[in-house]
Each structure stands twice: as C-alpha cells, then as structure tokens.
Amino acid sequence: MRVKWWHIALVLCLAVALISPLASAFPDGLERVGEDHGFIQQAQEAPFQLIADYLFPGIENEALATILAGLVGTVIIFGAVYGLARLLRLRKRQAE
C-alpha cells in the first residue's frame, strides 16, 4: 500500500495525543470565570460516564489513562468524520 499524506498526518495526530499528559491542569478560561464568580459549582454531573475527564477507566496510572483516552478518541473522531465525509461524497456522486 502506498503511503498517503494523511497516513503520516494521522500518526502526527496520535503523537499529539501521546503528549497529552503534559497538558496544563489549570482551569481553562470559562472554568476560571466560573470559579471567580461562583457559578462553576452549579455544573451537573453527566447522567452517564464513559471516558470521563479524558481518563480511560480501570487504569491506575493517570498519565497512561490520559494517553489511552487520547489515542482512542483520536481514532474514533478520525473514523467518524472520515466516514461522514465518505458518505456525503458518495451521495454527491449518486446525485450526479
């Protein structure tokens, strides 16, 4: 199989997911405003949790759990959006 540009690009995206444990743990802009003005505690827990807080469940090591969540998410998102675009493209060609 010939290596296409997006094969390399996908590996780069997975590499970004691999360094996700380096992310700053500080609150983001919205969370900071919510803390300063006391509305973030109104936030409700989700009715169900799958890979909540970007930590793959059942893994003790937090960095490893984050990396696994990142890799799984990156692959799922790539597959979903690539699939959606393929489908839209197919429907365009059928219409033509």
Partner: protein, 212 residues
C-alpha cells in the same frame, strides 16, 4: 470553553440547540453539494488533530490555561460549513464519550466553538488575505488574526449565553470571558500559524481546495 450542564437556562438551551441543528443541517447539504475527493481525508485529519490538540491545555497567566478550538484552521483550509461539521463531530464525541461539555449545553457549545468560531475565522482570514494579498505573509498573518478572532468571538457568544441565562450580569461576564480569551487566542494564533506553515511546506495544494 465547554459549557457543562446545569449552567444555562432552558430558553437558552432550546434556542442554541435550534440554531446548531439548523446550522449542522445546512452544513451537511453544502458538503453534499461541494465535497471533492481531496476533502475527505482532510476532514478526518482536521477532526482528529482538533480533538488531540484540544486535550493539550497550555498555561496562559494567573493560574489559568487555555486550549485551542481549531475551528479557524478548519475554516481556512476547508471553508466555514465544513468546519462547522468537523467541530460538531468533535464536540458531540467530547460530550457523549468524554463528558466534556454537557448534553443540554451541546447546542450552545456547537454554536460558540462550531458556528461562531468557524465563520469568524473564515471571514477574518478572507478579509486579511484580501488586504495583504494571497501570499505567504498574508496567509500566515491572516491565519493568526482568524485564530485569535475566532476564540475571542466564541468567548463573547459564550458570555452572552451566560448572561441570557441569568448566571452573571453582562458587565461582569463579558469582560471576564473576553479578557481571558484574548490571551488564549494568542495561543490559538501561534498554533494555527504553525500548522499552516507545516501545510505550506509539505502540501501547499491543500491551501487551494474549494471552500465548503
């Protein structure tokens, strides 16, 4: 900037859902009309990159961090409607799988980081490159302006929703959100320019696709 559930009131939830469903629906029709073969892998790659990059919060100042939105980059390369679709997919996955951003707040999050950020980024880039020329300098400067403006305007939209929901008065929430995101936008600008430079060095043709 992912709004959790329990913050917005029902009127804001309903309104933002209606706008986002309409926007995504229209985006799907636009994509079906214009999508070319080269767009397909690029859409998947941009979505994957945006998801991974959003995990990487960078510290800005005073114990606060920010993460990229990515909508401006997607809108520059693919056009605003394709960017809306990419952002919607990323935000839906983040809400459903990673519990980042509420299920009821999903409409607002798609409106802010999808629709507002994509169109702000697209038109700021368009305007800057018209002004400075479609050359490397114009494109990189346009990329920075588009990225910064997309974060800034998305945060204003978010602030308006918080105000309309009665969370905080406008004169408090607008400067607070805009202030922090004016700083976060600089990070978005630098990362967007970095990716544009990488695209220019490796696959310049991807900067000349038909915009959707």
């Amino acid at each position: 900037m992912h709004i959790p559930d329990g913050i917005l009131n029902m009127a804001t939830v309903a309104t933002t859902y209606a706008v986002s469903v309409g926007g995504v629906g229209f985006g799907l029709r636009q994509a079906r009309k214009k999508l070319g073969e080269k767009h397909v892998p690029l859409m998947g790659i941009l979505a994957a990159f945006i998801f991974a990059a959003q995990m990487l919060n960078f510290p800005i100042a005073g114990g606060t961090s920010g993460h990229v939105i990515g909508a401006a980059l997607a809108a520059i390369l693919l056009g605003p409607w394709a960017a809306v679709l990419i952002m919607a997919c990323v935000l839906i996955a983040q809400s459903l799988i990673f519990q980042d951003g509420g299920l009821l707040a999903l409409g607002a999050n798609i409106l802010n980081m999808g629709i507002v950020a994509s169109f702000a980024g697209y038109y700021l880039y368009w305007f800057t490159t018209r002004l400075m020329g479609e050359n490397r300098r114009g494109q990189l400067f346009g990329g920075f302006i588009a990225a910064w403006g997309s974060v800034f305007l998305a945060s204003i939209a978010c602030a308006i929703e918080l105000w309309l929901s009665g969370v905080l008065p406008a004169q408090v929430v607008l400067p607070a959100m805009a202030g922090w995101h004016a700083l976060i936008g600089i990070g978005e600008g630098l990362i967007t320019v970095g990716v544009l430079r990488l695209v220019m060095a490796t696959r310049r043709d991807l900067l000349e696709l038909q915009r959707i």
